[in-house]
């Protein structure tokens, strides 16, 4: 059996571990356009401050050797002949029996009227190193986009003494989380720490002279030396356009991470997966989903019949000194019940979203301990009608769950029964 894995992120690593769980002999070839071993993208920010890539490797350097993986780095895939099972590189082609596409996502870079200089981005190691080099000796950085990447990058650039202008089109940062309170709290935290925050602001055009860039918006002007676009990511599906591979907002996969083509699997940020809570297909570019998807794909590529766990968004983030964990759906619809609590002085926020007696979303800010208990309640689809008040008022605690269900949970996790 010959496996080819395209990409070298958590989905690819997960797939290697999945395959090797059942097939210790099959040949695995990994092809990555990046020239380094897998690293942790959530930790890319630390490169800006004091870390190097060696500090953020996702696995030990001997991981590939131990798992008998041949790695081809710094090579892009030009196209794939799915009919004849061939992957075409620039100067080579390789046959596969099973293929995993885990090519991730790339930065969205907007065009700004009147600007012909470079707009930087921050979604991979090359972009991060380039930005680090370019900002040396420059003071004023403008960041477009108040999503997770934009906010974290603002924090780190601020920490190394840069004057950061964060320009956000919506009325609050991290609006995609769907929780206005969290956005509101973080808006204040960013401003308090010295980030210049421009909310509900759209850049209309720019003017550049030899010294400065002037970004003109509907709310006035921002002067900067460097522009970084953090306006989200889009799945890297260019090599597969005009093929039979089914794509929409990413490569469409089923609950076994299979694409519509035989022996072709996909996982991670490149995919569009079924979101169990929203009941629709969407792109959920977060690390646990990438690893889980890759792991599941790996098992199935090796001949197992493995169904992926329930998938929905979740995040753990720290913005300056504020710790946040969110999971599931935070923007309730009309018939959902919402329990929420906010203590401004202690800066503690807790919110539960309940739909038909089941927990479908939770947000914790400040006190995040034991958040996984809530996550498990969402994942396991447990009815919480009887315990919701305790769950909301008390400290999150395993013993809130009725004993009979608790015993099932212990059994299922310790014995691996679903």
């Amino acid at each position: 059996m010959k496996y080819i894995i395209l990409g070298n992120g958590p989905a690819a690593i997960g797939a290697i571990e999945g395959i090797r769980n059942y097939d210790s002999k099959g040949e695995i070839i990994l092809i990555s356009k990046e020239n380094c071993i897998a690293y942790s993208k959530p930790q890319l920010y630390s490169i800006i401050k004091d870390k190097t890539i060696d500090d953020i490797y996702y696995r030990d350097e001997d991981f590939y050797k131990i798992n008998k993986v041949s790695i081809i780095l710094d090579k892009s895939v030009n196209s794939i002949d799915f009919k004849n099972k061939l992957v075409f590189l620039k100067d080579d082609n390789i046959q596969y029996d099973k293929l995993l596409i885990a090519t991730g996502a790339k930065a969205n870079i907007p065009e700004i009227k009147g600007f012909n200089g470079e707009i930087f981005s921050f979604t991979n190691i090359n972009e991060a190193l380039k930005l680090k080099e370019i900002i040396y000796g420059k003071d004023k950085i403008a960041i477009l986009g108040g999503g997770l990447i934009g906010v974290k990058l603002s924090e780190y650039l601020n920490k190394i003494g840069k004057e950061v202008s964060l320009i956000v089109s919506s009325s609050g940062v991290l609006s995609s989380l769907g929780d206005e309170k969290i956005s509101e709290i973080l808006n204040k935290v960013l401003v308090k720490n010295g980030v210049k925050l421009y909310l509900s602001t759209k850049v209309i055009e720019t003017k550049k002279d030899s010294k400065k860039i002037e970004l003109k918006s509907d709310k006035g002007s921002v002067i900067c030396d460097v522009i970084v676009s953090c306006k989200g990511v889009k799945p890297e599906i260019a090599p597969f356009e005009n093929t039979n591979l089914l794509t929409d907002h990413g490569i469409k996969v089923d609950d076994h991470m299979r694409t519509n083509l035989e022996d072709v699997f996909a996982a991670g940020d490149v995919t569009e997966v079924y979101n169990h809570i929203d009941d629709k297909y969407c792109n959920i570019p977060i690390l646990p989903n990438a690893f889980n998807g890759g792991y599941c794909a790996g098992l199935n590529m090796a001949g197992k019949d493995h169904k992926i766990d329930t998938i929905y968004p979740m995040n753990s983030l720290q913005i300056f000194d504020v710790q946040i964990i969110t999971m599931g759906l935070l923007k309730p619809s009309e018939h959902d019940e919402v329990l929420s609590f906010y203590d401004e002085n202690k800066r503690i926020y807790k919110k539960l979203v309940i739909r038909n007696g089941k927990l479908v979303g939770a947000a914790l800010l400040g006190e995040i301990d034991r958040a996984g208990i809530l996550n498990n309640i969402i994942r396991s689809n447990i009815d919480i009608s009887e315990i919701k008040n305790e769950l909301f008022n008390d400290k999150i605690n395993f013993y809130v769950i009725p004993r009979s269900i608790r015993e099932i949970i212990v059994k299922s996790y310790t014995e691996g029964i679903k």
């Binding site: 959530p42 996984g372 208990i373 395993f398």
Partner: protein, 142 residues
Amino acid sequence: MKRRIICDEDYCIGCRLCEVHCTVKHSKSGDILLAYKYENEKEPSRMEFEQKNISCGSIVCMNCKDPLCIKACSMGAIKIEDETVKIDTERCVGCWMCIMVCPFGAIKRGDKKAFKCDHCFDEAIPICVANCPNKALSYEVD
């Protein structure tokens, strides 16, 4: 996974001695008086004691068969070694993804590092189990 500390809540009396022994065991001095009164920062217990009415018990890492924490860790810092889930503190950066997913709430936040029960790898049986006065805690190795 084969090593598990199980609490039988019918026998747990809520004395929290498991926490005391855990703290002492993981303290710098290993001495109860020093650990509680004189060490600069009291070593936190790895146990999570919880109570609901007369139901009570302690929860620690259950060494899941297919641990969610390993899959969620953003640094690849959690591994299975000696049939035990272990956190490599050199690698851990405190992203708390593990806390986000642990179904038992068994992983705790330290100073930018996650920590949890290590099943007292240097003892024949974990110290909490050995000292549980009503034998509510038991150690399963199979």
